[in-house]
Subunit: 336 residues, 4 copies
């Protein structure tokens, strides 16, 4: 049976997920579209989903009986109410990050889902679906022994002037925050931010680079370099050090060239290319679980934990190298 | 519009392609199944395509009006008549290799398709859809300058007793034969086979390893080591040497481990894992072209050229290091 | 003209340097030997330097007119008086690390050399002579742009029970402390130590692993993992992140093997093998400078700076993640 | 005791070996120099060996009683008479390649040495002293199982117009010819040369590249690409395929850089840099053996075998892909 999906938010990401559902993946179709700017929704309908119905509001789309499941790809500030509405309607909902713009908002979603009694929400943390991270997690479980440290880097060639210091957490580190919880099957207890001198390309409202140090409940010490003006490319590094050995995230596939006195492999420069394959797997997972009326991927709890951790990291950015505690309430049984 | 596919041959490969169409890919469904052993078709229907109709013969399946396109995944000797029947019915047909068991048979398919006047046949040379080979071809076109040499290896950890010397060509080298024609956009003019001493694991009816040397019309010299008892893993190597530099096929993704005094990366041992992702892409390409009534991937001509080249290579295996000429007729305009 | 060298301390290192001078390097000979245990000196004379004179004390050896230059390879606590005696005698002296067992002792050597008015002392920081670090420094100067961060690791497979927490600084990190000052042409301003959970192999008197964070005057942030029970091998890692890109210390040469379903390269397990080639270069440098009556390698000042930094790191080990300031007096002009 | 060496031929190589003996290595000194152009000898004496005596002829130098051992680094055509003279004088002699310009000449040297009754000659095949090849040989003996195939390449960025087709054997492949005999502990039985199209940079008197195929007595099949206009760098590749796995010659040390959207490592462009470290080891070995009155490195027999093989390869260059037999007489017991 085909899963009928309604998409709220027809910008770049909403459009791309619609293409994925209509042209790449099996088992679902986009039957409803909505965007605060109706022209966006019309364009996506014309190009990708000619049979879809346009809705004036996300709420109306969620309420429509032919819509089985919802994708929330609208502006961040609208995520919380749409997700709450979907939960209220008992419909599976895939929400792009952030789940909510505040940890309190994420908490409200968790509470709503717990009240509902079963999982409906999947948050768009796509790295968990990346073949490299999946292989890394398997290697950690099978080969390295229990993890003790993680050394990581998240490098971007450049950012616009609008990118200010807290965005290094909210927009950039957020991916590491989620994926390391998953990778290590662990939770954070503290965050600390250390700064080298500012890079010469760093803008006036941005302290770049920075090294974020996270500690986990199991005692793993994680250092993540966040460097968004690294100039040379988009580069994600992750090395896990365990009791028996180390494992490292693979480089993206690249041809070995020998040319002009260099052995060389291309490095990606656009973040959109780095995890592109994982979006297909992520949505496929959503379709499979939503077809059974639920959700199985990154949960509302994961979104909440990421929000709480982000808040602590942003506070740590202003704490002169001091550790900031990260405290989560008891995890509801729904998420065990 | 959904493409209705009929599958002839419900063994391992037919089953796997059915799963792909039903559960992974968008735009098509399996509506008809047939197998010389009806139980096979029933199992596939039960597990993967409950709405499909079973047909007693491949010919009946091909004739059924609800079948828009055909997959031939039956026993090799039956490929030729089924493909000819599909062409006669004007239906797009995807045929697993070999296209025919003789080069004459492949020639008859080419002639039938030429008589039909447009392409209908796609042959299952999946390596052309492998991300590594695609990147290699792009690197050759963009970076290495015009190719002059190719050094390659096709290694298998072990083969059963039933694998005899000519199978090193028909079952193993066949993939290199096709993919290098595509990679270099070239045709072969001669083949030569050189033998080192037999490996100690080589069976009595098998001369293993061997080095096949192919020359192309443009003057590229290709050496391919075929070693099917290499013991250590399934390993496909390919280096192109051009006027300006070299490019090498990437290794499959593997985690860098440091463990037990070794930096180490796993090597695959089962050939089925090596190009597994390319099957999805290959069938997706078939669905896209067949939905428009045609075919665009590896053609009947490519299947014919591979068959003629294989024949020459097998002859070269018995020619004591002498070059055997490879002569193809003029390529019909349909395939330009 | 051949440089006549006297060696004080005929244990493993003294013996090895004697072999180097007698059998490998050009331009010098060992003419005098001394050891607190005379039998050691006799053995080295018999095996490697039959023409050498034995002296009862290091002081007597230093005073002997036929001795042009001195190697101090005795027990650490004796380094300071021997080096001071060599300075007093105006003779070039190569001193294995530590230059002195306290930073005050190292300071006294600096003051004596400054009073002498020209350089006589070379400290045995051999990593500066390692081809990998030399290439890394060149890459940083030519390619990466100004350094901003360094990520490093110093891993040992195992240590004996006698190895306690401060030795992670004095015996292990000491090499990074010196080589990074040289690599970056910079000085430290603070040290901080962070701990993950203890590794299960860590002994009761050892907190292992630890991450030492150093800041430099130019604002470079350095993190060094020190893990002396890493199990898998002796492994030295160093990545410099600069304004334009990154550079990484090369791995020691190792054969690429494909064997048993693994691509593999051996990792060293004994630290003595890791920088073995640099000892030749180091002593060659000493011979060249000492032949002209001076010294040019790692200086007494470098030894002093390393001692001050080590003290701060040991203090930081007990400071619960707080930064400890590292303050050096003004560098005497002799060392500019 | 110091070995007194006389150097015949004071060009680039003779000068470099003199520097090595005088300034780098232990245990020898250059006491005599000779060059057909006396000014060359005077320059080397002035710069590197002020105490050396100049001789008008190589023969006079060899005859001088203070000369214990001889280095022949003169013009190739003079090697044979000088080596024969050294043998007649019973003095150890290191001879740069070629040992003689003809295989008959090399044969005469073998016969003279056999008549003398003990080894005196070391031929300048320095690759046997390269740390990479030594590690490769160890890996083959310990890990890969018995060798079955070797895939190799010898690439040079460019050659002058004077470099004609047979020089691809005499000046380039000669190194592989020797080092593979040593690596495999084997002898050749046939050679074959295959040509792809000429590279566009290949000069009119040069057929470049070429693939030389050698077979050994033990049945190993070796293919060597010789490409002296490869443009991108000086690159030596060697992979041994054995019964259990493969081993590959390591790349020269190079810093991993990430820069400008490329992971990159420098490739050497000047052949002189590739094996520079092995010259020291080679001469050190000569000094050690010559100090005992003999020779232990690559022998006159090895030089003869290389000459016979080279002749066969040059003949094979003109034999249209046919194998040319390589026949050596019985190896004298002196060389076992």
């Amino acid at each position: 049976m085909t899963l009928n999906i309604g998409v709220i938010g027809c910008g770049m990401i909403g459009r791309d997920h619609t293409r994925r559902i209509q042209q790449v993946l099996s088992g679902a179709q986009v039957v409803a579209l909505s965007d605060v700017n109706r022209a966006n929704a019309e364009t996506v309908r014309r190009d990708l989903a000619p049979d879809a119905t346009l809705f004036d509001t996300g709420e109306a789309l969620i309420a429509a009986p032919e819509v089985h499941a919802v994708l929330v790809t609208s502006w961040g500030a609208t995520h919380e109410p749409y997700v709450l509405a979907a939960i209220a309607a008992g419909k599976p909902v895939f929400c792009e990050k952030p789940l909510a713009t505040t940890s309190e908002g994420a908490r409200r979603i968790v509470e709503a889902e717990v009240a509902h009694g079963s999982r409906l929400v999947q948050v768009g943390f796509m790295r968990r679906y990346d073949a490299g991270y999946i292989a890394l997690k398997a290697a950690v479980q099978q080969h390295t022994g229990a993890p003790i440290m993680v050394h990581a880097a998240h490098r971007n060639p450049a950012v616009p002037e609008a990118y200010v210091t807290p965005m290094a957490i909210h927009d950039t580190l957020i991916h590491e925050i989620d994926v390391f919880r998953w990778l290590l099957d662990d939770d954070y207890v503290s965050a600390r931010v250390l700064y080298p001198r500012k890079a010469s390309r760093s803008h006036s409202q941005l302290r770049d680079p920075q090294v974020v140090v996270l500690e986990t409940q199991k005692g793993v010490l994680i250092d993540v370099e966040v460097f968004v003006n690294c100039a040379y490319g988009y580069d994600i590094q992750c090395e896990v050090v365990g009791e028996e050995g180390t494992a490292r995230l693979p480089e993206p596939m690249a041809i070995d060239l020998r040319l002009g006195a260099l052995r060389q492999n291309a490095i990606l420069t656009d973040w959109k290319d780095r995890f592109v394959a994982s979006y297909d797997v992520e949505l496929n997972d959503f379709i499979a679980a939503a077809s059974k009326g639920g959700a199985t991927g990154p949960s509302a709890w994961d979104g909440y934990a990421a929000a709480v951790t982000s808040d602590a990291c942003v506070q740590a950015q202003e704490s002169d190298g001091q550790a900031v505690a990260i405290v989560l309430p008891v995890r509801p049984a729904l998420y065990n």
